[in-house]
């Protein structure tokens, strides 16, 4: 197998783990962790493609960098949301957040 396929398979593994976690987890924080896994998979695939195919190296790395920035922003927001949710419903389990307006 070529190195490219190996890296892509690792990225897919991350995607699978992330999707599995996202559906099986019930707490917001657990889901956030799974999302981070998936984002990492995406980053890995991007960089691998950029480094090992004729595609633009800069573009791949920059894209991953931007994904990382997005992840940071997302984590900040989720942290705030989890706090509010925990304050209102006493739990961050997603099932209990079915109410539309608190």
């Amino acid at each position: 197998m070529s190195p490219l396929v190996l890296f892509h398979l690792a990225a897919l593994l991350l995607l699978a783990f992330g999707l599995y976690g996202l559906t099986s987890r019930r707490s917001l924080v657990g889901m956030l962790i799974s999302v981070e896994l998936m984002l990492n998979g995406a980053g890995l695939a991007l960089v691998a493609s950029a480094r090992l195919t004729p595609a633009s190296d800069e573009l791949g790395q920059l894209g991953t960098l931007l994904v990382m920035g997005l992840a940071a922003a997302e984590a900040t927001l989720v942290l705030a949301m989890v706090l509010v949710a925990a304050k209102r419903w006493g739990s961050s389990a997603s099932d209990r957040l079915s109410m539309l307006k608190g």
Binding site: L4, V29, L44, Q61, L62, G69, K87, A93
Partner: protein, 172 residues
């Protein structure tokens, strides 16, 4: 040298596998977070392997240093009152959910894997390491819009977090 690279790849893959398993399966959220961190290190190692050390270090700096600490904070602040701190709730019908989750996780990945295995282009030899200055030039040149956008998104996230946090303080 070739062997060494494969050995390193195997090591990182093991990190990713074990970490990923812990991240999605551990009932204790802090342990799950620890799994995530292990995975992040595995990915960082793979970046190193691809001679993209800047990406690897940014991965550690941003993900491990900032994002995981934030997640840790979230775990800490959402303690359930009953004392089962940072634990996932028990599922009423765990088997059904697990099967569904497994399907939803494995199916898309399997399809994509098939594509990757059959349609993958021939890999090139590793390109020379990208100089940092080049990345900077790209960021301020052709991709300045993306850079600006991510700045705006970060700012908005920060402002949003502050607003949400303040609302909480008022309620207390």
């Amino acid at each position: 040298m070739e062997q060494l690279a494969y050995a390193a790849y195997g090591f990182y893959l093991v990190l990713i596998l074990a970490g990923g398993w812990a991240a999605v399966r551990c009932r204790d959220l802090v342990r799950a977070l620890l799994g995530l961190i292990m995975t992040l290190f595995g990915v960082a190692g793979m970046y190193f392997l691809m001679a993209a050390p800047f990406m690897a270090l940014m991965q550690i700096l941003i993900y491990v240093g900032a994002v995981s600490v934030l997640i840790f904070f979230a775990v800490m602040l959402t303690r359930a009152p009953g004392g089962d701190a940072g634990q996932e709730d028990e599922e009423r019908r765990p088997a059904r959910r697990a099967v569904l989750a497994l399907l939803s996780g494995v199916l898309p990945a399997a399809i994509l894997a098939a594509v990757v295995l059959t349609q993958s282009p021939q890999a090139l030899a590793l390109k020379p390491e990208l100089p940092l200055a080049r990345l900077g030039q790209m960021l301020t040149g052709p991709y300045v819009l993306a850079f600006e956008l991510i700045s705006v998104v970060l700012l908005a996230a920060m402002a949003g977090a502050v607003v949400l946090g303040f609302e909480r303080r008022k309620g207390a």
